[in-house]
């Protein structure tokens, strides 16, 4: 959780402040290197070195690190096979990257004084919107204009069409919103809650043991949520991809 600079608010939401580290602009747009960018770069470095170094020996009988790397590989491969099927294999690198990136972002956020870029709505929406656009393009490339049939499920009586089509379109458009909000809200709520309880520890003196225990419990819970939300984000991407490839 980022320690806010001097004179800034020390409230529970201060940890989500974007701090410029190396300010610069491109064409009038601010693209400074910030604490958020630092966390993203850290995620890339961590995930890449984990994947590369754990598989460096490529042993027939894997060691500890190699087992973890292979487990993550099998985990995503199975997820795609179960939710998308054979056609999903092409998208394995993207979905694997998505999972590892979100998981690394969540886990880096768990380190005290670090920064959780997955608690930034801009980041989660950016990812969710990219998935949404990509999946929609795949749907149109594969099915052409028939993909519009997605908005009128088969077997629905014709007189329900005026009702069904807007509902389906709305729910389809809501996908990136719900996908990004879910991750953003979970991470923000977790970090805020821990910060609030942590603030009470010193205020309450000896009774501060109670919020301290609470923080410990919440930290465990957040570790689970960090994994779970990365999983949910990835599996929903798989579900959307399956919808685009196979329609309903």
């Amino acid at each position: 959780m980022a320690q806010a600079g001097a004179g800034e608010s020390q409230g529970p939401l201060a940890q989500f402040m974007i701090q410029k580290i190396i300010p610069f602009e491109v064409g009038g747009v601010d693209v400074s290197f910030t604490n958020s960018s630092l966390a993203m770069v850290a995620a890339v470095v961590l995930v890449s070195s984990f994947l590369v170094f754990s598989m460096r020996r490529g042993a027939l009988v894997p060691g500890r690190w190699q087992i973890v790397a292979e487990m993550s590989y099998e985990f995503i491969a199975n997820m795609i096979r179960d939710n998308v099927g054979q056609e999903g294999r092409r998208y394995f690198p993207f979905i694997f990257t998505l999972f590892m990136f979100v998981l690394a972002g969540n886990m880096i956020g768990m380190v005290p004084y670090s920064f959780a870029f997955t608690s930034q709505i801009a980041v989660t929406f950016g990812l969710a919107f990219a998935v949404f656009i990509g999946v929609t393009l795949i749907g149109f490339i594969k099915h052409g204009f028939k993909f519009f049939g997605f908005f009128l499920p088969e077997g629905v009586p014709w007189f329900l069409a005026p009702l069904m089509i807007p509902i389906e379109i709305l729910s389809y458009l809501a996908r990136p919103v719900s996908l990004s909000l879910r991750l953003f809200a979970n991470m923000t709520a977790g970090h805020t809650m821990v910060k609030v309880f942590a603030g009470f520890i010193f205020l309450l003196g000896i009774a501060g043991v109670a919020p301290l225990l609470m923080v410990i419990v919440l930290t465990g819970l957040k570790l689970i949520i960090a994994f779970l939300q990365a999983y949910v984000f990835t599996i929903l991407t798989c579900v959307y991809l399956n919808d685009a490839l196979h329609m309903h």
Partner: protein
């Protein structure tokens, strides 16, 4: 909420794009092919080993079958030899027994013949010995001279009578 400050969106999206693309390229071009290769190698190795084990098992089964066949052949051969020998021995024994009984029979017959011959001889001796006795006894008792032929005939008749 600091997250809703639009002034931070551009930089976050910019860096998100940059870092995510970098990670994607690393995973796609470097990390994942390596993992696929390692996993495939292992899979192939396992399948190869299983195949080899299968072959070896089949081979062992073949050897076992051959061994069992040899064993069965040997057993049946031994049984045949045993059977044949037993038969031969039985035949031999029967033959010897027959020969023995034949010899015994022949000897018994020869003995019987000899006994009969000696008996006849003894009877003849008795007749010859009696002939003189009969002639002189008759002379003494009735004073009649008995012809040798008549005496012989009478003795023979008496002998025949006693033998009967």
């Amino acid at each position: 909420m600091p997250q809703l400050d639009p002034s931070t969106f551009a930089t976050q999206l910019f860096w998100l794009f940059l870092t995510f693309t970098a990670l994607f390229l690393i995973a796609w071009k470097v990390a994942l092919p390596r993992m696929t290769e390692v996993l495939n190698t292992r899979q192939e190795r396992i399948e190869g080993d299983l195949e080899k084990a299968e072959t070896l098992k089949a081979e062992a089964e073949e050897v076992l079958a051959a061994y069992e066949k040899t064993l069965a052949d040997a057993t049946s051969e031994a049984q045949g030899v045993h059977h044949r020998t037993a038969q031969e021995m039985t035949e031999e024994r029967t033959k010897q027994q027959e020969a023995l009984s034949r010899t015994l029979l022949e000897q018994a017959q020869a003995a019987e013949a000899r006994i009969a011959g000696e008996k006849t001889e003894a009877v003849d001796n008795i007749r010859e010995a009696t002939l003189g006795v009969v002639q002189s006894a008759t002379q003494r008792l009735i004073g009649a001279e008995v012809a040798e032929q008549d005496a012989d005939r009478a003795i023979r008749a008496a002998l025949e009578e006693s033998r009967a």
